[in-house]
């Protein structure tokens, strides 16, 4: 069982990169602990900027820094970053095209029993609708590392959502990774599961369960929500009888909506969207919440079996 959370990996990659590049800055809103960025702050205090509990300021100050040549990684809980400072993300990051990577930590229902104020079940929809903003939900620690390494090489805005707890490994350390290309984990003729973020390990597990029952099921890790890998979706949708999306997000405006838009325009067919509900989410650990809403491997497998009947 992997115990390294994706947020820790982000800290490792940035700490390594900061050794050689003094323009890399990490900016936090009293969030260095939650973001697992304390080691970075301790090692490179001159490249770490604390702005206190002020997310609007976090984002706009980051844009100001980036406009002067800095490579800024601004980390704050996804719930606040994607709503409290949404206008700042729209104007100062996306519209102005500043070199700011917004890191939404403890995304989705990571905060479990803390409730709706702390959930970010709308961040794919909000961030993906901003012209100029890229949106990524990496699945495991290895993909997270490759993603951050890739984002360090360009100068465009991005929003990255990661969960709070460690997720099961999907890949091996030296996995193949191409920015903005989905990872095709397996191919299937009966159904293809398109998942992102923390849902990917559950999708892989569901695929195994269904394979044991004689079904041919594929899994696509769509960590790149925007720009989305349309080609991968169209190819998979043409090959499989059913397209099933799985996301830790509200039903509107997320991976399911975007996938359905692409499928309906290119190879019309039914897209089944497994997501959190459009309503208050039950309290509990994130695993309990996933189970309750059918987003664990059991729930995903059941939904597909039902569709196959």
């Amino acid at each position: 069982m992997n115990k390294i959370a994706n947020r820790q990996v982000i800290c490792d990659v940035l700490t390594e990169a900061a050794k050689k590049d003094k323009d890399i800055l990490v900016v936090c809103s009293d969030s260095r602990g939650s973001a697992a960025l304390t080691p970075f702050a301790d090692q490179y205090p001159e490249q770490f900027i604390e702005l206190g509990i002020a997310e609007q300021n976090l984002v706009t100050v980051s844009a100001g820094l980036a406009s002067c040549g800095k490579k800024v990684f601004a980390a704050s809980p996804a719930s606040f970053l994607s709503t409290r400072s949404y206008e700042q993300a729209k104007v100062d990051v996306a519209y102005s095209g500043t070199n700011v990577t917004l890191i939404g930590i403890s995304g989705g229902v990571s905060y479990g029993a803390l409730g709706m104020t702390h959930h970010s079940c709308q961040d794919i929809a909000s961030m993906a609708s901003l012209p100029g903003m890229r949106v990524y939900l990496p699945s495991d620690r290895f993909q997270t590392a490759r993603l951050i390494e890739a984002l360090l090489k360009d100068e465009k805005p991005a929003y990255v959502r990661v969960s709070r707890s460690a997720t099961e490994d999907v890949y091996e350390e030296h996995m193949e990774f191409t920015l903005d290309k989905a990872n095709i984990i397996s191919e299937g003729k009966d159904a293809v599961i398109i998942a992102c973020g923390e849902m990917v390990p559950y999708a892989v597990e569901a695929q195994k369960k269904l394979t044991e029952k004689g079904l041919s099921v594929g899994v696509i890790d769509m960590y790149c929500i925007k720009p989305i890998d349309q080609e991968a979706i169209i190819k998979a949708a043409k090959n499989a009888k059913h397209v099933v999306t799985v996301e830790e997000h509200a039903p509107h405006g997320g991976l399911g909506s975007i996938t359905a838009q692409i499928v309906s325009a290119n190879c019309p067919g039914k897209v089944i969207n497994l997501s959190l509900p459009d309503g208050h989410i039950i309290g509990g650990t994130n695993k309990e919440i996933f189970q309750y809403y059918g987003l664990d491997s059991e729930g995903i497998a059941k939904a597909i079996e039902k569709e196959m009947e």
């Binding site: 702005l51 002020a54 300021n57 100001g64 040549g69």
Partner: protein, 272 residues
């Protein structure tokens, strides 16, 4: 008349032309802020069309972005682009001279228009200067109505926390906003006290439409060490055109032919 004041009245003439042509813009605030912009762009800012990519240039952010018409007039006059293009195409279809500052226009450092972003952008720029050991300064111009935006106060805290004495804000305190008197819409009395409480050095310029007075204020700001500075410029909305002065209706009023002729006549009389 000193040359800066003369320049500010020539620019007022350009603004009236732009507003009359386009039937758009925010003429009242343009006329209150134009002296501030004139002093900054002709005497204070270490920047020019040739140095607009120079990492050591001073930075300027128009936080009260709706008064971009005044900024276009100054930038065009300083040679960042053909001023006549701005006057003739402001707010027209497919023009780069849209109703808020955008970086497609040479000389504009950052997009703006949504209020309450300027100080925070300035904090980022001033922090970057400190981190890189560069001596450039960052200037931000705000409106007094804009000071109701809470994001300003987050940024004010950060600026004093980081002792950003290379950051200078200006509040164009004309006392009016779209709905009426600022003190009646949402009072921001004692704005200087608010900045002081947030750890800023406050410079009060009693006549914020006096170019020599503003210049003295900016000199004090540049000399002050250890804290960010704010110039509170007490201005008159619509300054220079008698029928616009202190009238809320001219926040974004459009001139009739008769009003245009009258405005031009008054401004040219000052320039004689």
């Amino acid at each position: 008349m000193d040359s800066l004041t003369k320049k500010s009245y020539e620019l007022r003439r350009d603004i009236i032309e732009m507003i009359y042509n386009s039937k758009a813009g925010h003429v009242g605030g343009d006329l209150s802020v134009i002296d501030i912009l004139t002093v900054l762009y002709y005497k204070v800012l270490n920047t020019s069309p040739d140095s607009r990519k120079d990492p050591d240039r001073d930075r300027f952010i128009m936080s009260k972005g709706h008064c971009t018409d005044a900024l276009y007039a100054v930038l065009g006059d300083r040679g960042y682009f053909d001023k006549q293009e701005a006057i003739k195409t402001f707010s027209a279809f497919n023009s780069r001279f849209i109703g808020h500052p955008n970086t497609d226009v040479p000389g504009i450092e950052m997009n703006s228009g949504s209020l309450g972003h300027g100080i925070a952008l300035g904090v980022g720029m001033a922090l970057a200067a400190k981190l890189d050991g560069r001596s450039y300064r960052t200037y931000v111009v705000l409106g007094d109505g804009e000071m109701a935006e809470g994001s300003n106060y987050e940024a004010m805290m950060a600026a004093s926390h980081y002792k950003l004495d290379n950051l200078c804000a200006t509040v164009d305190l004309n006392g009016l906003q779209i709905s009426g008197l600022t003190k009646e819409v949402l009072s921001s009395d004692d704005l200087g006290e608010k900045f002081r409480a947030f750890g800023w050095n406050v410079i009060d310029v009693q006549d914020g439409n006096s170019c020599p007075g503003l210049l003295d204020g900016y000199k004090l700001a540049a000399e002050f060490k250890g804290k960010p500075s704010v110039v509170i410029a007490h201005t008159v909305k619509g300054k220079g055109v008698s029928f616009m002065e202190n009238k809320k209706g001219w926040h974004h009023g459009v001139l009739t032919e008769e009003q245009y002729t009258q405005a031009v006549k008054e401004l040219e009389e000052v320039l004689l």
